[in-house]
């Protein structure tokens, strides 16, 4: 009951926010890879008690001459997220950026993974899409006829559908996003709904960044 309350209330909130943005907004303006922190999810307020345990961010620094990689980890729900690895290397050509987040509830039997990749070229985007939809995971991903989110989206083939997890990927402008959710004691419909709401959150961040 509580789960449905959160899902419904967030749906209403996001519908209101989304409707305030021009409906014919196209994802033309590209996102600067430096601003990946503005795109990534800051908190998952639509599901109780999920905590960010792991975050890896790779991005160019403000000068554009270096690429920074930072890995943040948390040991338990009671400790704070702290940086465990940080490297810096000089770069010649512009590079994109990426962020991998892993969110868990206590006990780590439920997980949410969010990948955000900001690409600097069309070929880089194509490579990223191929990587995620055809090479990284055993499951096959199909492009949806009409986009669920963004300009283009991909979901698992129905023959491999799980009952307690779901994954969807989408592209908006020069940003590629993957959402993976594994929840216990939720119906598959609820999990799919939450996945789409999370994807919508990221999409809204992209749109807000485009209109800055």
């Amino acid at each position: 009951m509580k789960n449905k309350y959160f899902v419904v209330s967030l749906s209403i909130y996001l519908t209101f926010v989304y409707s305030a943005i021009p409906q014919n907004a196209e994802f033309k303006k590209e996102i600067n890879p430096i601003n990946i922190d503005n795109i990534k999810i800051q908190d998952i307020d639509l599901i109780d008690n999920f905590v960010l345990f792991h975050e890896r961010v790779i991005k160019p620094d403000k000068s554009g001459n270096n690429q920074i990689m930072q890995i943040w980890r948390k040991d338990s729900t009671n400790t704070s997220l702290k940086i465990v690895e940080e490297t810096k290397q000089s770069i010649v050509n512009p590079v994109g950026s990426s962020c991998l987040q892993k969110w868990y509830r206590e006990g780590k039997k439920e997980k949410i993974e969010i990948n955000v990749i900001i690409c600097t070229s069309e070929s880089e985007m194509e490579k990223t899409i191929n990587l995620f939809t055809n090479q990284m995971f055993a499951s096959q991903y199909d492009s949806t006829e009409t986009p669920i989110i963004g300009e283009k989206s991909w979901i698992p083939k129905s023959t491999t559908s799980q009952m307690d997890s779901y994954s969807l990927m989408f592209k908006a402008s020069n940003v590629f996003v993957r959402i993976y959710i594994n929840l216990n004691n939720y119906s598959l419909d609820e999990i799919i709904k939450i996945s789409k709401l999370l994807a919508r959150k990221v999409e809204n961040n992209i749109i807000k960044e485009q209109f800055k």
């Binding site: 997980k111 055809n134 995971f137």
Partner: protein, 383 residues
């Protein structure tokens, strides 16, 4: 008034006498018991080292708890810590290093220890501890051998001693005995890369699942089948713990073993095959590598690991298997009419016949974590 005063004085004197008697009785008892206590010598192990050499000729194999935590030596420190250790199966006449303490420095102690419960690593027939040996580390050879098969064992040592005064009269005194309990693993052989220093969190599974086995083939059989049947893992091809360090320009792939163990929930074929490789290498079995079969291909009926699916057909972008000259696949059962877990199966014959329906079937070369992944063309590691 006078009568009362006399009576009062008498009462006080009487009370004083009573008090004196009680006090004397108390002091006598105190001296008696105190004296008795001081006369009973005791000796006990304060520290025990099982792994103290760089090799493992005489001592235990070096292990650690996990990626971030080593096992501190000495493994046993009285009232402070009690860590596990590991031996190669059948290892005999192991040596340990012990530091003793006692409550009496005027005694020589003849110490012996025997296993009174569980399966131990050996006994101490007798060792003489002089006062100058107290609080110093002494090497002791055990008589006996560790079990000749793989397992995880607990045992209790009973430390007994006879104390002999250093001065006459040399009347021997039996000391109060002390018990210590310990946990250890027995491995098939010296652990190999990528788990040349095994994690106890991995040995907790490897040594239990391969319990009682003592040949390479039986170990691999047990590990593959138990991983599928008893791990509690659930198949999910939408995620993996084998990840690149960056997208799309990756420079290495990492198997996130720490996360995999902490979650112990969802696993894809890459997780299963790589964990099998880690399990086998941690106990010194012939190393199973991991091998990618590139697709995409449609499968015949399969039953993925766990309880989510049951028998299904599906289409995979690729599949990953364990490999030691043949396929070891802990992620699925195949051949629904006569189901089996693929163990030691030819990749192009029976295994392909029972798994593959149509599409592309392109096995790549096998590798183990720490080597280059031939599909991605980059180094690999475990974290």
């Amino acid at each position: 008034m006078k009568w009362n005063k006399n009576k009062l004085i008498g009462a006080i004197r009487f009370l004083q006498k009573e008090k004196m008697c009680l006090l004397m009785l108390f002091l006598t008892m105190f001296a008696l018991f105190g004296n008795l206590d001081a006369q009973t010598p005791q000796i006990w192990p304060v520290e025990i080292c099982f792994n103290y050499e760089s090799g493992n000729t005489n001592d235990a194999v070096t292990i650690r708890k996990n990626a971030s935590t080593e096992i501190t030596v000495p493994e046993y420190v009285k009232d402070t810590r009690n860590e596990s250790c590991a031996y190669i199966m059948g290892q005999s006449n192991c040596k340990i290093k012990v530091k003793f303490n006692s409550n009496n420095n005027n005694m020589n102690y003849l110490v012996r220890t025997t296993v009174i419960s569980g399966t131990g690593i050996g006994n101490v027939c007798g060792i003489l501890i002089a006062p100058c040996d107290l609080n110093k580390t002494i090497t002791i050879e055990l008589s006996g051998a560790v079990p000749g098969s793989i397992g995880k064992h607990n045992f209790t040592w009973k430390w007994e001693a006879t104390a002999l005064p250093i001065n006459a009269p040399y009347c021997p005194i039996n000391c109060t005995s002390v018990n210590t309990t310990h946990t250890y693993y027995t491995l098939l052989a010296t652990p190999q890369a990528p788990m040349s220093i095994p994690w106890s969190e991995v040995l907790d599974k490897a040594c239990v699942w391969a319990n009682g086995q003592n040949t390479n083939s039986s170990v691999l059989h047990s590990l593959t089948s138990r991983l599928y049947l008893n791990s509690g893992l659930d198949y999910d091809g939408n995620q993996s713990h084998y990840e690149p360090d960056n997208w799309p320009y990756y420079t290495k792939f990492t198997f996130h073993l720490t996360d995999f163990l902490n979650e112990w929930n969802k696993a894809d074929c890459q997780d299963c095959s790589m964990f099998l490789s880690i399990l086998s290498s941690s106990i010194g079995a012939s190393l199973t590598q991991t091998r990618r079969i590139q697709g995409s291909f449609y499968t015949k009926n399969i039953e993925p690991i766990g309880t989510t699916y049951g028998w299904i057909t599906t289409r995979w972008s690729f599949h990953h298997v364990g490999w030691l000259n043949n396929v070891y696949d802990p992620a699925i059962k195949i051949n629904q009419s006569s189901p089996y877990i693929p163990i030691d199966k030819n990749i192009e014959n029976q295994y392909k016949t029972d798994l593959y329906s149509s599409g592309t079937w392109s096995p790549f070369s096998a590798f183990y974590l720490g080597q280059t992944d031939p599909y991605w063309g980059v180094p690999t590691e475990i974290k």
